[in-house]
Symmetry: C2
Subunit: 475 residues, 2 copies
């Protein structure tokens, strides 16, 4: 045995709920879990590395961030509290435009580092030029990734008004599609990397191209991860292009795209009936509670989708929108926002939130056989959390165990002490083993402070509310 | 000078917004701030204690928890995801009933410890038998407190159905009122302690007694801190007792209780018109976003109250409800919940959340002249936060400063490095100077694990949803 973790609470996520085992142990050999159970009868003595939880820790599956754009993380805090319509043109795009190749990589490093610190072991990365991110960040960091090359037919450098019909440039889509296909080949032997197709959204990619992509996805037994029904801007384009009675979900249904190949992100601009159709057809959902509440003032319909019997997961979207990449925050937000959405405190209890962040993520990303719960023969992706912190105290086991509730309603992500991915220790006792955390943080600050003064003039000219807030002395 | 903090960002909360100063310094002498400003010209050399932020830290006013019940903190995680009507009788009260005197003190220690770790320096403590909490926790911990003895005329040990009219026992109210009056005398010379009156709510205290309390409050130039319009259970009682067209706010207005002496907690069961009346009459509000969303599935009307011109603050309520005592979480929740309440991403921006947690709290608690912002002559209640953590990176100052946004949307409370209250260092480099953190955590776990098995039978008999969830293996 390579690693044994002894005398610890286990939150296995096996069974109906969170699958708690008290005073348990975990054995790891190579990249796999080989033992999960009570300490009695656990022969751990031969382990090379022994971690003793002294019953003050809990081991749980590494968290799964099922919708994650990392490349713009240097723009954290650069845009907020704007109307949705101003968010891109008067906000994010001004800052994103001055980033160079290395800055995207630095953003990804920072975001993955942040996610790891808060217990995320799998990232469903969705971006442009994934090969570089994989080679320069994910592989050297030894992090599990579902790599989704974004495919779009829009020319983002083109000036366009919100109510103009966007022009599709098929060659742009084709190029991205080629890059996506290449990813599959290039990383097919990497055990930490799986690939998916990422046609951005129905207002940015033509139906013809999406159909081609779907054929390829089915052939490869892969999935399509797409932004679906994201709100007003998308709705307007769909109505203009396909007729005023058309919606994203109707269009997907009519074109045989609404099935188990589809992972639909966001879906807040859908009706309950449309969500029911999605669930019946095997579509899976990813919700991003902090992102959508902050950018749009809208609660993602996670509770509804789950109530309808659908399989769902959560993600942090991108730092400029959400502010952070901490799935503990997102698990709590999923529960609390769903309760207020339904005005019912019994909605989306903590075992469901924990499922969204672990096994639900694995099911959505088609990795259920590999990760998402603690079970012998699954890959050793797991995290240890300190329970002896004031905000998680006390932990009891009689008359019932309050661990799930405390992790969701009281956890911050800073309890994560140790992170193991595919059997390799990434973080130990709060210290990264190889990743140079301080250096990355310093570089990120330096670059942002160098780059963004360049944006000043354009930003001031944009006349957005943020500019006014700044000029009036609020920020 | 006793303490100088140099080379640091300052978030002063002076001026219209957050009052950022880059590369600043703070001087403290005795219990007071004597210097706030840029480093240029700051003569800090004579300071006994020098803290160098190396421009990787920010100093801001200590946070103010304006509605805080700490005594039941040992019950954290014992009740959740129940209908509001079952929350007390089938949940919290079963666990609270087995707590003994020392357990309340231990709960308070744990809660204050947790709050301090997350940057809170003032606690508006609301409970029963405050003198003991003050002598055994707040004074030895050297923490600022607004002590509010809860006054109620109900006999909580009495079996009662939700739709019965509650019986008021005046002697119970009188006894609590006497305890409250005694507090004022007993702690009048304590610079860290101010007292207020706490008639619990209009469904638990008679109008006669509240009027007497108000007279006393006015005489002492103090305030009344009351739970107002908390929802269905209160509404039912008000209608039964005072007539079916009566509401809490109407009743307060009719009896001259709706004025600047009143601090109203929660107020989610009010109309916009009622809130407008409250604001016009100088009532101040405290909202508890996590608590009310978790227990009731309701968003506190903070955004509305502020929009109407009211002065508002935030609190964490009690751990069994909320799960935690972290005002960074509450500042984010205040912003995000308000955005979804109004379906508008521009609502309750970060400078407003930061105000709720600092100066707004000071104004609500009538301590504006002493605390809530960084200004020479104010008391030295302040916190230092590490900015060189992945989730707050990058920090920029051009074209504008993203510090406020990152603290609210990305902060967790675990960035707090140093806490100073009334000029005394409580936490330094993440370590408590005198408070025995580990001991308190261990004691809390031990007591909860000893006590709560006693509850098992009653809890199972309650037949609540939580019991079913437990029996079905979800938790």
């Amino acid at each position: 045995m390579d690693i044994a973790i002894i005398n610890t609470w286990l939150l296995t996520m096996e069974g109906k709920g969170v699958g708690i085992i008290r005073n348990g142990g975990i054995g790891i050999e190579g990249d796999k879990i080989i033992h999960v159970g009570k300490m009695e009868g656990f022969n751990y003595k031969s382990a090379d590395i022994l971690i003793n939880g002294e019953n003050k820790m809990v081991v749980m599956p590494g968290l799964i961030n099922s919708h994650f754009h990392s490349m713009l993380t240097l723009c954290r805090g650069m845009v907020h509290d704007l109307p949705e319509i101003e968010y891109m043109p008067k906000g994010l795009s001004l800052f994103a435009d001055v980033l160079k190749g290395q800055d995207f990589l630095l953003g990804t490093k920072l975001a993955v580092l942040e996610g790891l610190r808060a217990g995320t072991t799998t990232f469903a990365e969705y971006g442009i030029g994934l090969a570089s991110l994989l080679n320069n960040v994910y592989k050297p960091f030894n992090v599990r990734v579902v790599a989704t090359e974004m495919i779009t037919e829009l020319d983002f450098s083109e000036e366009k008004k919100t109510d103009d019909l966007y022009t599709f440039y098929r060659f742009l889509g084709n190029n991205a599609f080629k890059r996506a296909n290449k990813l599959f080949k290039q990383f097919q032997n990497d055990e930490l990397i799986t690939c998916m197709y990422g046609p951005n959204a129905l207002d940015m990619v033509s139906l013809d191209l999406i159909k081609e992509i779907k054929e390829e996805a089915v052939k490869r037994n892969s999935k399509i991860h797409m932004h679906v029904a994201q709100g007003g801007r998308e709705r307007l384009q769909i109505e203009k292009r396909y007729g005023s009675s058309m919606t994203t979900v109707k269009l997907l249904k009519e074109h045989d795209l609404l099935d188990s190949t589809l992972i639909a992100a966001h879906i807040h601009d859908t009706t309950r009936e449309e969500r029911a159709v999605m669930v019946r057809n095997g579509v899976k959902m990813v919700g991003c509670p902090s992102s959508i509440s902050k950018i749009d003032g809208i609660i993602p319909p996670l509770a509804d989708f789950i109530e309808l019997g659908g399989i769902a997961a959560i993600g942090t979207d991108e730092a400029p929108g959400t502010g952070h990449h901490d799935l503990f925050i997102e698990m709590r937000m999923a529960s609390l926002l769903s309760k207020v959405a339904k005005r019912d405190p019994t909605v989306l209890p903590p075992w469901t939130s924990l499922n969204l962040g672990t096994l639900g993520g694995a099911r959505v990303l088609d990795l259920e056989n590999k990760i998402g719960s603690l079970r012998p023969s699954k890959q050793a992706d797991l995290i240890l959390l300190k329970l002896n912190v004031p905000h998680l105290t006390p932990i009891i086991h009689e008359p019932f165990c309050n661990l799930a509730a405390n992790l969701v309603y009281s956890g911050k992500g800073n309890e994560v002490d140790t992170v193991i991915i595919n059997g390799k220790i990434i973080l130990l006792n709060g210290k990264f083993q190889e990743i140079e955390e301080e250096k990355i943080i310093n570089q990120a600050n330096k670059r942002a402070q160098e780059l963004f003064p360049e944006v000043s003039e354009l930003w001031r000219k944009s006349g957005s509310r943020m500019v006014k807030y700044h000029e009036q002395g609020y920020i």
